[in-house]
């Protein structure tokens, strides 16, 4: 029989929401950098699941399907932004590059990477960790941080870039940070 009653499909999707929405949201946020958009896109992904769940092979894991839907949603999102003049060629370039990378990788590890990243941040030297906190927790921009630390904005920008680079290495190594 084709189709499922709404209640049945909703039950399955609900299970998946509890299992995967945080992971999916983490991935989408890492790609769009906006909370509201992330939430919306995550819901869009699950709406597609609701529409098409009858075609899903339940012998398989749902995550690869969810992430492929997410990739399509991201494409639509960036296309739409560009169409409306709210993203320029650079934004779209970065988004495309990210999507290519994501699709090439066998498995999305955003969730695990964020856990690892947390440990990496904790392992930073106090000065570097303070800089990360000011920018990401207190939401200051580089100019504001520079003013507070009485440094040049360019120097702060380079410093945070180096910290991020170190964190990337840390995450990619899957180990605690190197104490930058």
């Amino acid at each position: 029989m084709i189709g499922r009653a709404d209640s049945e499909r909703m039950k399955t999707v609900e299970k998946w929401v509890y299992a995967y929405q945080a992971r999916l949201r983490a991935y989408l946020f890492s790609r769009v950098g906006d909370e509201a958009v992330t939430r919306d896109l995550t819901q869009e992904v699950f709406l597609v699941v609701l529409r098409q769940i009858d075609r899903f092979d339940f012998s398989r894991e749902p995550w690869p399907w969810l992430i492929s839907i997410a990739h399509n949603k991201l494409r639509e999102y960036w296309r739409d932004l560009k169409k409306r003049g709210r993203a320029d060629a650079l934004d779209v370039f970065v988004a495309d590059m990210q999507l290519h990378t994501d699709e090439d990788s066998e498995e999305d590890r955003t969730g695990e990477q964020i856990e690892t990243l947390r440990h990496c941040v904790e392992a930073l030297r106090p000065k570097a960790r303070r800089l990360v906190e000011m920018i990401y927790t207190e939401r200051l921009n580089c100019a504001q941080v520079a003013e507070r630390l009485q440094q040049k904005a360019g120097a702060v920008r380079i410093a945070i870039h180096r910290i991020r680079k170190a964190l990337r290495s840390c995450v990619e190594a899957g180990a605690a940070g190197d104490g930058t």
Binding site: G3, A22, D54, V171
Partner: protein, 487 residues
């Protein structure tokens, strides 16, 4: 990597680059893969840091763990789920393309339905429609439920007395009639009626670049943008070489293409057209011409008799606008159906030119009640006229009279109102007679009719005025015990 590129990447992440600097960075990234990769990785780690800090917002490790736990299994998922359910409900509502009251009522009276999906006929693909209504009894293996999705290439069969209503994602509503087979469209092919009949209502999109809705049969292709039409296949068993396709247009204009030779005609509202499997079958152009109201003798050629049972001669008074009824008055007895000496197997209609009566033909049994009822739009206003039964041979209406609801009747051609039936004082209410009176907006009496409802018939006796049956929703006509007695 050049320091300049590092500065640009850092500036991009910080959101402070000017347009010129953004162009500079884009150019650098396009020219140097290393810059591009560095840019992407930097953006990724930046966003993950933001996400991570948003999640925690606290430095206490225990608090972070609790928040993460809550995020994954707790209230946020519940809230998310709640929002998702609301959005899904909205989407389902949007899919209900068929909202007009008339349509709703018409579909509500399709009864004795049995429909099933052909086993093993579901190749999958994108969702193209949703099953909007399945009325009557199904009970067959694989019978669809309301809300089921129809995917590309799905095959839908209705039983001998079945019907199913589909809401297409592209903005069309298709009512598949009894003993019919419909194949859903795919990326490469249109919807295809293989057997039986259907009625379609295609919403007109405000966008100008919307693709037209296309429906095919073994003999013809129908292309529309915003219209209502009925389509029926007459014989042939699904073979393109046998049988024919009959088209009736209720609203708008339909492009009707005969597949045998690719010839197309425009069929307008109130017109009919027929396409046979071979170019020599059924003179498409002639039929199209013949669908206009005529004054004087008209001859339809080319084997008309093959589909004779499906057609009916109707007439209307030229002075009373576009209302028409089956030709049965004494004045219309000159109508002849059959061949003459010169043209065999033809329909000949002969109406004196001095008579202000228009003659036309129409499908005798249209696919669905609404189309059928359009034939009976007017019961002429002679006092005491008895029309019995109003809907001859349409036994599928029986459930209508047992379902709760209210009658909605348009009075004359301009007014529309809802009214309730009450037992008729001068008739035996036990026998099912009810009185219906309608009033104009100024309170003056407009129409008084008596209605008798039994299991299989719906009889109206017009006492004064005239009525036009627009749609029917029964609220309560008889106590259910009486209905059962009637049955």
């Amino acid at each position: 990597m050049k320091d300049r590129n590092v500065e640009l990447i850092a500036g991009f992440v910080d959101g402070i680059l000017s347009d010129t600097e953004r162009e500079e960075l884009l150019s650098a990234a396009r020219e140097d893969t290393a810059v591009a990769e560095e840019l992407v990785r930097e953006v990724s780690i930046h966003r993950r840091l933001r996400f991570m800090s948003r999640e925690s917002g606290e430095t206490d490790e225990q608090a972070v763990r609790e928040i993460l736990h809550y995020l994954r299994v707790g209230g946020e998922s519940r809230e998310f789920m709640s929002d998702l359910k609301a959005r899904w409900a909205r989407e389902l509502r949007k899919r209900r393309l068929w909202r007009r009251a008339g349509f709703a009522a018409a579909a509500a009276i399709v009864a004795a339905v049995s429909v099933w999906w052909a086993a093993g006929q579901r190749p999958g693909g994108a969702v193209v429609a949703v099953v909007r209504e399945v009325t009557g009894q199904s009970g067959l293996k694989g019978a669809p439920k309301v809300g089921d999705e129809v995917c590309e290439g799905d095959r839908i069969e209705s039983g001998e007395k079945g019907a199913v209503i589909l809401a297409y994602a592209v903005g069309a509503r298709v009512e598949l009639g009894a003993d019919s087979v419909l194949n859903a469209p795919t990326a490469r092919s249109a919807s295809r009626l293989e057997r039986g009949a259907l009625a379609a209502s295609v919403a007109k999109s405000p966008a100008s670049d919307v693709s037209p809705f296309v429906m095919e049969t073994p003999h013809a292709r129908v292309t529309v943008v915003g219209t209502r039409f009925s389509l029926a296949i007459d014989g042939g068993g699904g073979s393109s070489a046998l049988g024919s396709t009959w088209l009736q247009v209720d609203e708008g204009t339909v492009e009707f293409t005969r597949l045998a030779d690719g010839r197309s005609i425009a069929v307008a509202a109130g017109q009919f057209a027929v396409a046979g499997g071979k170019a020599s079958d059924y003179a498409l152009k002639a039929y199209a011409d013949g669908t206009t109201w005529v004054d004087g003798p008209v001859v339809f050629r080319d084997g008309f008799e093959e589909g004779m049972d499906n057609w009916q001669v109707v007439s209307r008074s030229s002075e009373k606008g576009r209302t028409y009824a089956p030709a049965s008055n004494a004045d219309e007895k000159r109508v002849q159906i059959g061949g003459d000496e010169k043209v065999k197997n033809a329909l000949s209609i002969d109406v004196p030119r001095n008579r202000k009566i228009d003659i036309g033909i129409r499908l005798r049994n249209a696919a669905l009640p609404e189309a059928y009822m359009a034939e009976w739009t007017t019961i002429h206003n002679t006092v005491g006229t008895v029309v019995s039964p109003v809907l001859p041979g349409v036994t599928e209406y029986r459930n209508l009279y047992t379902a709760p609801g209210a009658y909605s009747i348009r009075v004359g051609s301009a007014h529309r109102m809802r009214f309730e039936c009450v037992p008729a004082p001068e008739r035996d209410a036990e026998d099912g007679w009810h009185q219906v009176s309608t009033y104009r907006s100024d309170g003056k009496p407009n129409t008084r009719i008596l209605v008798r409802l039994t299991e299989n018939t719906f009889i109206i006796e017009v006492r004064n005025g005239r009525i036009l049956i627009d749609d029917v929703v029964v609220r309560k006509l008889l106590p259910s015990r009486k209905i059962r007695d009637d049955v």
